[in-house]
Each structure stands twice: as C-alpha cells, then as structure tokens.
C-alpha cells in the first residue's frame, strides 16, 4: 500500500517564484489497484508522482510505500525497487548509448545482473517493439518509440507499483492499444498501476478508480462509473 498523509508541497519555496502545488493531500493506494490521476495541467498530478519514490520530498506530511517512508535514506533503495516511475518526457530520462543498455541499467542496479538479457528481451516485446530496437540509440528513435522504450526500462525489473505519467501522449493508435493491454496485464499479475492522463477515452476503457486533483486538492476520488466526464479537465 502507498499512503500520502497530509502532504504539502511548494515549488521554489522561499523565493519570489514560490508556487504551492499540494495542500493537505491525502491518498491511499491499495496493492493491485488500477488508478487514473486526472486534472488540468499544473494541478499537481506530476508532483504526486514524483513524491511517491522520494524524488522530491514533502514540505509537511509523509508518504509511505509498504510502510517505508520516502524520507528515510536507509530504505530508499528498497523503496525505489518497489516503485517504478515512467516520466512525462521520455527523452529526459535516457542516458545510455543503446536501448539494451538503457533497459539493462536498472536491472543491474537492482540485483538482476544474471538475468539482464532475458528480462530486457521480455520487456521490449511487452511494449510491442521488436528485438532490433535493442541495438539502436534511444536518442535516435521517434517520439512514440522513445516513450515505449522508457516504459520498457521501468517494467523490466517488475516493480510492484508502476506510475505512468501521460503514457499515451504522442503514441499512435497501435501504441495506445499496446499500453492499454500492458496495464491490463500488469493488473492481472497483481501489480498496482497509477496512470496520470488527460485521455478520457483511455480512462473510461482501462481504469477502475479516478483521482481528480483540482488546485492541489482531491476533487474526486471514486470508481470510474461514478465520475462525470467533462470536456474541461
């Protein structure tokens, strides 16, 4: 379970550009859940994602993943192995010369050195890309292909909780269907998925619970069936 308790977060605190993003934010994510986080650009969705594995720390309140606090340095590695994070802009998360090294990097770090090849192969296929991509440079892929590689480089070590920030942005029809299938499969294997998205059709057909954030607060939290979809979100 992931639990956000009374979380406040302000960007550029104590500067003239200070911007409060989350205020007294509470959220409980049970194991195996399939959640969509929705809300306008700038409402705090991506902040919620970055808080979950300690990339940024709350000003007040706590975030716990299976009882491990994101502010506790000693257990941070263990926590990050549990939580996989796919960012909104995949080109900002690559740093290896080939796709296979990119995917293999996390695997080595998390103690799967002896299974790198097998797990790399499996994850690239899971996102619908062919084996040929492994030898290519991640920087020389198209926008959509980059996104699929970014997802492969996170699902490869099979974290329990997977946060996907706008996973369908820039993907073609086939890519979007692939991501739907992937989320379904992850849930079937008991993984928790938290997807930040603006794509309402995608949410309607793939998600179970919606958390809608508005002005740093939870505006709606409940099953998809009870949510009234409105163009203006």
């Amino acid at each position: 379970m992931i639990e956000y308790k009374n979380v406040d977060f302000t960007y550029s605190r104590n500067t003239p550009f200070s911007q409060k993003v989350l205020e007294n934010f509470n959220l409980k994510i049970e194991s195996g859940e399939n959640i969509a986080i929705m809300g306008k650009t700038g409402c705090g969705k991506s902040t919620v994602v970055k808080l979950c594995n300690g990339l940024i720390k709350p000003d007040n309140g706590t975030i716990e993943v299976d009882g491990l606090k994101t502010t506790e340095k000693k257990t941070l590695m263990e926590l990050r192995k549990k939580v996989g994070l796919v960012f909104q802009y995949p080109e900002n998360q690559f740093f290896c010369p080939t796709v296979s090294e990119e995917i293999g990097f996390a695997l080595k770090n998390f103690g799967f050195a002896d299974r790198v090849e097998e797990m790399t192969e499996k994850s690239i296929r899971t996102v619908g890309l062919s084996h040929d991509f492994l030898g290519r440079s991640p920087f020389r892929l198209s926008g959509g292909e980059m996104r699929l590689v970014a997802i492969a480089s996170v699902i490869c070590w099979e974290p329990d909780y997977i946060f996907l920030d706008e996973p369908t942005a820039g993907l073609d029809f086939r890519g979007r269907k692939k991501i739907s299938e992937l989320i379904r499969n992850l849930n079937e294997y008991g993984k928790t998925t938290v997807t930040v998205t603006h794509n309402q059709d995608f949410v309607k057909s793939n998600m179970k619970r919606i958390v809608h954030i508005k002005n740093g607060l939870k505006f709606f939290d409940g099953p998809v069936e009870e949510y009234s979809f409105d163009e203006d979100i």
Partner: protein, 247 residues
C-alpha cells in the same frame, strides 16, 4: 510551377536506418496540411527537413526556391518558415511572456517600434494579451504552447510547421491550440501540422499519410480517412467520419 515548399526525391537515414525514402512533395503557400502516420514513420524527420534542421542525404528540399542545403539561404529560410514542437517546456527561454516573444524578433534585428506592434498583435492573436508581464512558468500547458506559437508568429513567417503541438496538452489546452490552425490559415499562412488526433485535422485542405518512411496517401481528409478506416496506426472513429460528412 513549383510550390512554396518542395521535396525532390528526398532520402534521409539516421545511422544507416532509412527514415525518409524517395519523398517528392509540393506544398502551396496558404495550404493547411495535416501529416499523419504511426510512430517512427518519418513525420518529424519530414518536418525537420523543411527548415534545414536536418539535411537530406540525397535529393533536395526547397523553400520558395531556396535549397536548405545551401548555407547562404538558411537564415532566410528560417525567417520564412517557423517551427513549433511538441513540448512547450523546451521552447520557452525567457522569464516573462513579453521577453520570450521579443527574443526571436531581436535576433532578426527588427526595430523597437515594429517589435512592439508585432508583440501586441501576436499576443492578441493567441489570447495571451493579459499575460504579457507574467512568468511563463505560471502558464498552463495550453498557454505555454500558445506562447511558443506567438513567439514564432512574431517573426512573421509565411509558413508554420507544427510537430505534434497538442500531444502534451490537456483536452482544454489542445482545443485552444488546435483552434489557432484554421485562423492562421485564414491569415494567409501555410500551416503544416502533425497529430495523432484526427479531429484536429478535419479542416485541412490536404492530409499526407506516411507509412514505412514514405508517403502512402496524399489527398483530401475525407478520402484519406476513408482509406484508413481499418488502419492499425490511425484511429478513425465514427464520430470523425460523421463530422466530415456534415462539412
């Protein structure tokens, strides 16, 4: 007769992988053109070839008769043809809306008087007049992308190329941006847009569908969308076809 933007048998490879093959294409001034296709089909490469960010391995690209491969023309070409990319965060460089719009004009050596006129005009056009002195960080995604468009528009290019300008935006922001395309065309600009959302392209004069590094279809939206009804890469919904029929 040659078009405003012309591709003559263009080939382009990234590290031995063909990305664009044998493309010949002519786009007239004032046309509104949609470029569609699956991920990795060559859309972005095609667009980057238009103003010399990328140069063809063979063949040539001409903007109003000027070859992008000729360094003498590159400044003039970039003045004529403005580009807007997917992620507004990577295009905004200044600390206020006003400074961001003015940056490009300063580079072109415009007079202060002219800059002031253009600044007000483009901010009005994209609906950001009230944000002139704001920090771009305080804008929403749709507003940021409109700022990026204003900054390009201020340089008064004849042709504007948009590479998936709405795919990072929320539905509201995407609508704000998409509504500008038709208005730009009405203002006499050539508008070239790539997108995965066909609803944004129903007003196009012409749709170019790419697959596997080449152009497969190049025709009116109705014709191209009908051909792509069972496509793996393009989502053609019944409401889209309905929308086109009414037009």
């Amino acid at each position: 007769m040659s078009g405003a933007i012309e591709f003559r048998n263009v080939f382009f490879n990234y590290a031995e992988k063909a990305v664009v093959t044998a493309i010949s294409l002519s786009i007239e001034k004032g046309q509104f053109v949609g470029i569609i296709g699956g991920n990795g089909c060559g859309k972005s490469t095609l667009m980057k070839l238009m103003n010399g960010i990328l140069l063809p391995d063979s063949g040539e690209v001409l903007v109003e008769g000027m070859n992008t491969g000729n360094e003498e023309f590159i400044f003039e070409i970039r003045k004529k043809l403005g580009m807007v990319f997917q992620n507004p965060e990577n295009q905004i460089i200044a600390s206020t809306v006003e400074e961001d719009v003015v940056f490009g004009m300063e580079n072109l050596g415009m007079s202060v008087k002219q800059m002031e006129i253009n600044l007000q005009e483009v901010l009005d056009f994209v609906g950001l007049a009230g944000k002139r002195f704001k920090n771009p960080n305080t804008l929403s995604g749709g507003q940021k992308q409109r700022l990026a468009i204003a900054s390009v528009l201020a340089m008064n290019p004849d042709h504007m190329v948009f590479d998936e300008p709405t795919s990072m935006l929320d539905p509201h922001g995407a609508k704000e941006v998409a509504s500008l395309f038709l208005r730009l065309k009405e203002a006499g600009k050539t508008v070239i847009v790539s997108s995965h959302d066909m609803n944004e392209l129903v007003n196009c004069d012409r749709i170019i569908y790419m697959e596997n590094t080449g152009i497969v279809y190049d025709s009116k939206p109705q014709t191209v969308f009908r051909k792509l009804r069972n496509s793996e890469y393009i989502e053609i919904t019944p409401s889209l076809m309905e929308n086109l029929r009414i037009r």
